[in-house]
C-alpha cells in the first residue's frame, strides 16, 4: 500500500470511528435521559457526541474529496509532514501545556487556601475558561510562530 492510500485510509478510519462513537454517545444520552444520577452530565456527553459526529463527517468528507482531487491529498500529506509546521505545532502545544499546568496549579493553590467550601458554580466558571484559554493560548502560539518562522 502506498503512502497516499495509507494517508487516505487513516482519514477514513478516524472518520468512521468518530462518527460511530458520536452516534453511540448521542443514542446513549437519549436512552439514559431519565437517569437522575447522571443529571447534567448527560448534556456534556451529548455535546461530545455531537462534536464527534461533526468531526467524523468532516474527516469522511475530506477522504472523499481526495478521490475526486488527488492534488488536495498531496497538499494535505505535505502539510501534515512538513517539518516547519510540525515544529510549530510542537512548540505551540508545549507552551499551551505549560500554561495549562501553571493555571491548574494556581487554581488548586487558591482552592487549598480558601476556608469555605467552593461553590460548584464558581468552580465551573473558573475551570471552563481555563480549558478555553488553553486552546486560545495554543492558537495564539500557532499564529505567533507562523509569523516568526
Amino acid at each position: 500500500m502506498n503512502n497516499d492510500q495509507q494517508f487516505k485510509n487513516k482519514r477514513l478510519t478516524i472518520g468512521y470511528l468518530a462518527l460511530g462513537g458520536g452516534v453511540i454517545l448521542f443514542v446513549l444520552t437519549i436512552l439514559l435521559k431519565d437517569n437522575a444520577t447522571l443529571g447534567n452530565y448527560l448534556k456534556l456527553i451529548q455535546g461530545i457526541g455531537v462534536f464527534l459526529v461533526f468531526w467524523g463527517i468532516f474527516m469522511l468528507f475530506q477522504a472523499s474529496s481526495y478521490k475526486k482531487n488527488p492534488a488536495i491529498l498531496k497538499k494535505d500529506m505535505v502539510e501534515s509532514m512538513d517539518e516547519r509546521k510540525v515544529w510549530i505545532r510542537h512548540h505551540a502545544g508545549n507552551n499551551a501545556f505549560i500554561f495549562s499546568a501553571a493555571a491548574s496549579y494556581l487554581a488548586l493553590l487558591i482552592v487549598g487556601m480558601t476556608r469555605e467550601p467552593i461553590d460548584p458554580d464558581l468552580a465551573w466558571w473558573v475551570l471552563a475558561p481555563l480549558v478555553s484559554i488553553t486552546l486560545v493560548v495554543y492558537i495564539a502560539n500557532l499564529v505567533y510562530y507562523e509569523n516568526k518562522y
Binding site: V78, E79, M81, D82, E83, R84, K85, E146, K148, Y149
Partner: protein
C-alpha cells in the same frame, strides 16, 4: 544562518511552489527558508543539497565562520 536558496531557485527558473514540490515541503516553508527565518533540519538540508546537486556548505553559510574570516 544565511543561505543561497533564492539564488539557486532562480537559477533553475523554479517557482517557490515548484521547489516546495521537489523538497516535499509546503510553500510557506520555502519562503521562510529563503528569508532566513527558519533553519532546516539536517535531513531537509541534505535534501535541498541533493535537489541542487551541491554540498550543504555551498548552500548554507555559517555567519560565525564568515565573521572569523
Amino acid at each position: 544562518m544565511k543561505n543561497r536558496l533564492e539564488e539557486l531557485r532562480a537559477g533553475q527558473k523554479w517557482t517557490q511552489q515548484e521547489l516546495a514540490n521537489h523538497l516535499n515541503v509546503s510553500r510557506q516553508t520555502v519562503i521562510s527558508l529563503e528569508q532566513g527565518r527558519y533553519n532546516p533540519s539536517l535531513l531537509l538540508a541534505f535534501r535541498i543539497a541533493r535537489v541542487f546537486g551541491l554540498k550543504i556548505e555551498e548552500i548554507f553559510l555559517d555567519e560565525e565562520d564568515q565573521d572569523n574570516e
